[in-house]
């Protein structure tokens, strides 16, 4: 009996702690949506902020007038999606090379790749800006994509995953006359779909949320990504943007990606993404 009660108690405690954590995780987001729906004239002080008496979408409309929402959204989507696709491809390619080929210098080069993670590119921002200027990529969305076509973390992640692909499959393909690049496309990519899916989710989120690089490289409002535009909303010397409008902006930036993430999660769970895993 004692054991069972103890078990029960710890189960309840477990749930309780996790619910607490969940509340902490969700609270800011829910609160944000509440405020975004409040008309700008209502009081925002203290507990008043939770009471939404007259929900309205006026804040979103106002946002639409204030900033080139459509253009900026397109910029965000473009750089996020293209960035993710290219990153996935090239990271998987390099990861494949490290995992399945035993070429001279492999170990050294692999550790070298890992070592590059230690010094982030941010420290060289000043010259990096000049390089971007010289290759004419300032104000171009490609400046956000090209430097990160292959990232060290991505290569590391992919190589670990590809390591687990059984060599026999590759042998069989090689016997069939499959050559390297073909093998990558036809054999490896389909097998590592789950890894691609989860890394795609991570990369997509990171690129969508990217702030520093767009802030640095994009100079014209029409080229800004959504994140940069939203961050510039409140800090006007003149027009003090009402808080509900600002939070409407953050809602636009946060909610779509959450929805996307949830979708990807459900797809993963239901096994649509499950490819031919370890055989």
């Amino acid at each position: 009996m004692n054991y069972k009660a103890k078990n029960r108690a710890s189960s309840v405690l477990l749930q309780f702690i996790l619910i607490l954590i969940s509340v902490v995780c969700l609270f800011p987001l829910v609160w944000m949506c509440l405020i975004a729906l409040k008309p700008a004239e209502e009081s925002l002080s203290g507990f008043h902020s939770i009471l939404v008496l007259h929900p309205t979408v006026a804040n979103f409309k106002r946002l639409f007038e204030m900033i080139p929402l459509a253009q900026n959204t397109f910029n965000s989507v473009f750089s996020a999606v293209i960035g993710t696709v290219t990153s996935l491809f090239f990271c998987a390619l390099a990861g494949f090379a490290f995992a399945k080929y035993d070429f001279p210098g492999r170990n050294f080069l692999f550790y070298f790749v890992i070592a590059t993670m230690l010094i982030p590119p941010e420290v060289g921002s000043v010259p990096l800006f000049i390089i971007m200027k010289n290759i004419n990529l300032i104000n171009s969305l490609w400046s956000l994509i090209i430097p990160r076509i292959a990232t060290a973390v991505g290569i590391f992640y992919m190589s670990q995953y590809i390591c687990d692909v059984p060599d026999e499959i590759m042998e069989a393909a090689r016997i069939d006359g499959c050559r390297d690049f073909e093998m990558f496309i036809k054999i490896i990519l389909p097998i590592i779909k789950p890894a691609l899916a989860s890394w795609a989710a991570i990369t997509l989120i990171a690129r969508w949320n990217d702030f520093f690089w767009p802030l640095l490289f994009l100079r014209k409002q029409s080229k800004y990504t959504l994140m940069v535009t939203i961050s510039l909303l409140p800090v006007s010397e003149g027009l003090s943007t009402p808080w509900p409008v600002i939070l409407a902006g953050t809602t636009i930036v946060i909610v779509p990606i959450i929805i996307l993430y949830l979708l990807l999660q459900t797809m993963q769970e239901s096994g649509i993404m499950a490819g031919a895993v370890k055989g």
Binding site: S43, L44, I135, L137, S140, W142, I185, R219, E237, G238
Partner: protein
């Protein structure tokens, strides 16, 4: 299918990477590093200087969009510009105006500098509104058009000293947009309620006493004014407010740092210190909802700030409409000068070939000298509770339009009062190319003081020390 797509995609990727990205066609032009007297000779349309309307001018401007950087609520200016373009379709058939709002004049300067450094001259705006500190910086980098010649015939028609703060080494780098004095806004209703005579606030000693009385009589609920925990305190109370009035100096005539020993600084910031220590100032960021809430509940009695504050009061504090009045700022007994004027300028940017320079000059001219269109616009602004500054043209000021009483100020004519407050104004602080950086250094120490981490004496000493170590000596340009 998916594989084929992947291959296609990678080929496209590789191709576009090789083609080096889709930035617009290169233009490593001479936009960077050119000296002050830049391309003022390019626009041929400049020859038509005097006269009110631009009738008969042959120059037709090419189709395109003009980009202007503005701070505050510049979108209201667009109304005037759009109406003007409508009236002048013959010379500008397909021209549009786009106004980009920036957070501050410093930010406009940053954006322009960054764009210039990045070599994208065509991404520079065609014009920008700037204050003198930032004009100094950009003009030294050769990014602003020299307007000295263009302005010569108009100087006598404008208020005194309109162009002074944009003139460096004899060259004027901006077209005067507004000259607005630092004034004292006060809520008469509050003063009436507690039986305090606002006229006592004509000196700073009187100002402080009024604050002490308010605090005592309202048991601490009413504050004399506000103090901002951020850089705004230095900007509004310091550089544009008490420092010029106290004849304070950051640099001496040769550019050495003297702020630590300067008597004027001690007087100016010491006054702020007295008010803050006695609890007369509400610590709340200006232009933010919290302060507006306090104003609307009659908790803040006065504002010692530039006349531009009128637009914010009208827009956000309609609850107190009719209660506010305006008077000349308090003076320091030892100096006797009222608030310094804050001048704003409309600067045309040197972007290699600025084809719209002439058009912009015309627009500027009409805005300031064409009474009819100006008054129409101001009427519209009033209806929308939008901002508008007093005209800088002496002729326009004589028009009775500019002495009309304002409802918001309980019958007092704000416009007339603003004009009156320009009298006896102090001279602004000397501006150097190092001021933009100096402002951040000074403000940092002041913010630490406001947050309670150091006394004012320590703050001033630190300002002095840091200015000396980080900047050393300023370049005084006469």
């Amino acid at each position: 299918m998916k594989r084929k797509l992947a291959v296609l995609l990678s080929a496209v990727m590789a191709g576009s990477v090789l083609l080096g990205g889709c930035g617009t066609t290169g233009d490593m032009q001479k936009s960077t590093g050119s000296t002050g007297s830049a391309a003022s000779k390019t626009t041929a349309s400049q020859t038509k200087s005097s006269g009110t309307t631009a009738a008969g001018s042959k120059q037709v401007y090419p189709a395109g969009t003009i980009t202007i950087y503005g701070t505050g609520q510049p979108q209201y200016l667009k109304e005037y510009f759009d109406a003007w373009l409508d009236r002048n379709r013959d010379i500008a058939p397909d021209v549009k105006i786009e106004i980009v709002q920036t957070e501050s004049y410093a930010k406009s300067r940053e954006k322009i500098s960054m764009t210039s450094v990045s070599g994208k001259a065509e991404d520079l705006p065609d014009a920008t509104y700037l204050d003198p500190v930032n004009i100094m910086d950009l003009s030294q980098a050769g990014l602003l058009k020299d307007e000295t010649e263009y302005l010569k015939p108009f100087v006598s028609q404008m208020v005194d000293g309109a162009a002074t703060d944009a003139t460096v080494s004899g060259k004027t780098y901006g077209l005067p947009s507004s000259v607005r004095p630092n004034v004292l806004f006060y809520n008469k209703a509050i003063f009436d309620k507690y039986g305090i005579d606002p006229a006592t606030m004509n000196t700073f000693d009187g100002y402080i006493k009024a604050g002490e009385d308010l605090k005592a009589k309202s048991s601490g609920t009413v504050y004399l004014s506000y103090i901002s925990p951020s850089s705004k305190t230095w900007r509004y109370w310091g550089r544009r407010g008490m420092m010029p009035q106290a004849n304070a100096k950051i640099w001496d005539d040769s550019g050495n740092v003297v702020i630590g020993q300067d008597a004027g600084t001690k007087l100016a910031l010491g006054t702020l210190d007295k008010m803050y220590k006695e609890g007369l100032l509400l610590k709340s960021e200006i232009m933010e909802p919290a302060l507006y809430d306090a104003i609307n509940s009659q908790q803040v009695a006065t504002f010692y700030i530039g006349a531009f504050w009128d637009e914010f009061l009208r827009k956000n504090c309609q609850k107190t409409s009719g209660q506010w009045r305006v008077m000349s700022s308090p003076v320091f007994d030892s100096v006797g000068k009222a608030g310094a004027p804050v001048s704003l300028y409309f600067c045309i940017v040197n972007k290699g070939k600025n084809v719209y320079a002439g058009l912009l000059e015309k627009m500027w001219h009409d805005f300031h000298f064409d009474t009819k269109s100006r008054n129409e616009w101001v009427d519209s602004m009033e209806k929308q509770n939008a901002p508008y500054a007093n005209p800088i043209s002496l002729e326009m000021l004589k028009d009775e339009f500019w002495t009309k009483p304002s409802d918001y100020y309980g019958g007092q004519s704000f416009r007339k009062a603003e004009g009156d407050c320009l009298k006896n104004s102090a001279a602004n602080l000397v501006i150097t190319p190092q001021d933009a950086e100096a402002d951040t250094i000074i403000s940092t120490e002041l913010e630490a003081y406001i947050a309670g981490n150091q006394t004012l004496d320590q703050a001033i000493a630190n300002m002095d020390k840091n200015l000396k170590s980080k900047i050393g000596k300023a370049k005084i340009i006469k």
